[in-house]
Symmetry: C2
Subunit: 433 residues, 2 copies
Amino acid sequence: MRILLVGAGGVGDAIAKIAARRSFYELIVVSDFDESRAERTIAAIAARHGEESAQRFRAEQIDASDPYAVESLVREHRITHVMNAVEPKFVPTIFAGALAAGANYLDMAMSLSEPHPTDPHRQTGVKLGDDQFAQAPDWQKLGQLALVGMGVEPGLSDVFARYASDHLFSEIDELGTRDGANLVVRDDEGNEMFAPSFSIWTTIEECLNPPVIWKKDEGWFTTPPFSEPEVFVFPEGIGPVECVNVEHEEVLLMPRWLDAKRVTFKYGLGAEFIGVLKTLHLLGLDSTVPLRVRGADAAGVKGPVEVAPRDVVAAALPDPASIGPRMSGKTCAGVWVTGTGLDGEPREVYLYHVSDNEWTMREYDAQCVVWQTAMNPVIALELLATGVWKGSGVLGPEAFDAAPFLELMARPLDEGGYDQPWGLDERTPTRAG
Amino acid sequence: MRILLVGAGGVGDAIAKIAARRSFYELIVVSDFDESRAERTIAAIAARHGEESAQRFRAEQIDASDPYAVESLVREHRITHVMNAVEPKFVPTIFAGALAAGANYLDMAMSLSEPHPTDPHRQTGVKLGDDQFAQAPDWQKLGQLALVGMGVEPGLSDVFARYASDHLFSEIDELGTRDGANLVVRDDEGNEMFAPSFSIWTTIEECLNPPVIWKKDEGWFTTPPFSEPEVFVFPEGIGPVECVNVEHEEVLLMPRWLDAKRVTFKYGLGAEFIGVLKTLHLLGLDSTVPLRVRGADAAGVKGPVEVAPRDVVAAALPDPASIGPRMSGKTCAGVWVTGTGLDGEPREVYLYHVSDNEWTMREYDAQCVVWQTAMNPVIALELLATGVWKGSGVLGPEAFDAAPFLELMARPLDEGGYDQPWGLDERTPTRAG
């Protein structure tokens, strides 16, 4: 296996660092628009694992918005798998470049949605991944695989859903992805800072788009943002967090392969963060449409410049990849499943994985949210490299057998695994009488 | 009297339109960095009052950050009074230009403050107007007048405070400026919009700076932003509004001329607006320090540009001068005075002026908040032109007799007044027994 990793930001950097401990591939080309970021990642691997380990890595410059740039790097390095680790707005070009060059493809977020033009809070418009699924026949015809949505959420959540479907339930009422954390970031004086642990650009995109829900008898439909708030209790000391509906790939992926009456995604944003997102929207600061603004530099006022308000919000906040050392706490990703167990009785479980920032910083020098995202595509690549997972066309993680994934993930390091146990929280309400 | 009006934004435009109905001056030079805004104001006057009325107006380009540009326009047009109607950051240069050119000067906001370097939420640093008062001896020596803080708040509020001091109280406990409104702005579909009725740039400046309070036995001191919330009931149907301490000129002006035990300013921001300001601060979007941001134009991504986040916030919101047609409701400015009445008994009054958007739009094509601000310096200029008000040095509105101001303001239009009655709300609590 020869991998082209596109993007050496927070998640791309962590993918390379996790892969550095594995032996299933021959080469990873780490590419970025800013080649120095790719070099920094490889230098960190050399520093931790020695120069020899770093021999399997190569830095390249890439313009992810240009499919020909992707195609040309694939051909130059005889790449077998393109691993997309940049913002989802670059999905179409990387996807096209990989297809044209004859490589397989993986991503962690799918092609972007567009709201319904007249009824955005009830009907879907262009859905997440629609552009990719439309090209599924081409991938299938050529025998190439596009494994889409293979991060943590989507990704591990879809693996959990498949596992529940195969091994825990005879009939599923709801597959409800639930994500929550108790992370805190502190400044030099020890005061809590506002510092989102994931790209604010992407968070705004997913939280302010109309959330999508799937029901077996209605198909996909949307609601207004932040709908159906619920307090979900997360395990391992994280505790109760306010969760709301958010547009997310799981809702588009799971119903294509799994049988359930309802599929939802709720994000544990918490009241403060929901308030921040609502305010950004109220003021138009979520917009990606460039505004004409008075330019300024340290020396004084200059002529007008054009900037998108959302880019300014992102620039004003700390870089999520840089906050690991200031952060403490855990993040939890999982799927809450309700329905009928194998014994014919009502059952309710929460399947989850918790990532602890103290551990990910110590072991990988990566903060826990990006690390948790990065672990899953590496495991998937390993299962593809070893032939445990096989397929062609455009497939979600739930199209593959979940058991070997979860087994490899949980297996201790010294037995060749990833040492990442997962949890099964039995939540079936006990009945009186 | 020959007036140089610096700034043809919302308030400057309204000043010219109000003055257009008066005869106390010979010439008003309307100047702006963007000369077309000055021309637009004069064209609006010509359209409403005829070409002849517009003969007393002249448009000029000006760079308000350059004292020599101010000085040169003063000399060229033999200006007697410079009327500053731009953002307070340009106070120092316009102030200096007027002094150097031998003209008198008026403004509606004073030179900016700087927080105390180590104890900002308890001690004052550089206070509002400090830079101007430091130059008072020069103005006095040359016999020139700088009438500072002569808008509505500061301005009319200071006139009310002087009136209460002269005519209503034998001893004053508190002079508490209280500002509130019930304004609503609606979009094309009739939904309420977030659209502040005054410059967001200035509102952020005054609301996020530590509020200043004056006590007779302690002098000036500060508190954290948004301190001492209270619900104040405003008259004429506006009703109860949540008010908080805000840094404002009245607190710096009134104690210099009037005797009171305590001087405060509270702004009826309302819970939503306080939330917005807190969020902007949390995210660093209130900052005026330029950030490096990815530039963007309609055609795609460009190289990085430098912008101040606060300028982006201002650019993302509707121009306050443009929202008049979408707005409805009233705004109230006034001073709540407590103490001992002339009869030796406890007394409590609220002296106020209400501006109704429907009326200001119909009569002046100006929204009510900017119109209310603009009326007061025009009245002050008229009192100076007719010799009713006289003085030299750097003086606040409370240094002048309030009675003729309030009389001219309230007098009906057909009797030569401004037709703007004011209210005296007797609020003395009745005592049991």
